[in-house]
Subunit: 105 residues, 2 copies
DNA sequence: TCTATATTTCCACAATAATGGAAATATAGT
DNA sequence: ACTATATTTCCATTATTGTGGAAATATAGA
């Protein structure tokens, strides 16, 4: 992951509707949910949802599979994990205790 | 952390200049850097840097301490760790293997 | 108090992004 | 072929955000 990709991924998540979608998919992974089901659960117009799902896909944060008339969306953990790693890269200059940034304060 | 706070934090990071600043501070934590030193290292005009540091502070992602004429900025790991946790909350519905989302794919 | 240095505020311009209804497209079942 | 259902595309409107020079503010040292 480089800075440009990270900005795209972060911009994607930096939006209330998309953040809700993303978190819902994290929680329902790895199975994922059909677009319509997401729309119902988040009470979101189909066109708005579709717009946001496209953005999330483009950023590589979610993936989709078609199954009949349904399109199932789920989290792409590769991108997500890469993003997390990028944000904490070389934390505290590589100091021992910071290999897990949860330990930092 | 709630959705609103997370959006603020993510919006903050979803910007090339701020992401660079943030990562630089992650790497130089816990000591941090003076504003002027950040400006030099990132080759950024002082006013632009100041604007972005203010945003990062407001989002709780960095903290600052004044020391003489210098203001030292450093990462606020509390917010950062809370953000990470929020994004991966209840991953895969709480399934065992997903307690660490690095294991998910 | 005067000067040098560090940081922040002010301002105006330019560019980008979110929303949702209506229509279009795609798939399944009869 | 027809109907019902699922999803996406199109479009126009509205609002928000990043930028950097110049000036203002703050602190330290002589």
């Amino acid at each position: 992951m480089d800075t440009k990709q990270a900005v795209i991924a972060l911009s994607c998540l930096a939006q209330e509707a998309r953040l809700q979608i993303f978190r819902l998919l994290v929680q329902t992974s790895p199975a994922g949910l059909a677009a319509g089901e997401i729309a119902i659960r988040l009470n979101m117009p189909a066109s708005t949802l579709s717009f946001h799902l496209k953005e999330l896909s483009h950023a590589g944060l979610v993936k989709s599979v078609q199954s009949g008339r349904f399109v199932y969306y789920s989290t792409n953990f590769n991108t997500m994990n890469a993003l997390m790693a990028f944000l904490t890269e070389n934390c505290c200059g590589g100091e021992q205790s910071c290999s897990k940034p949860e330990n930092c304060s």
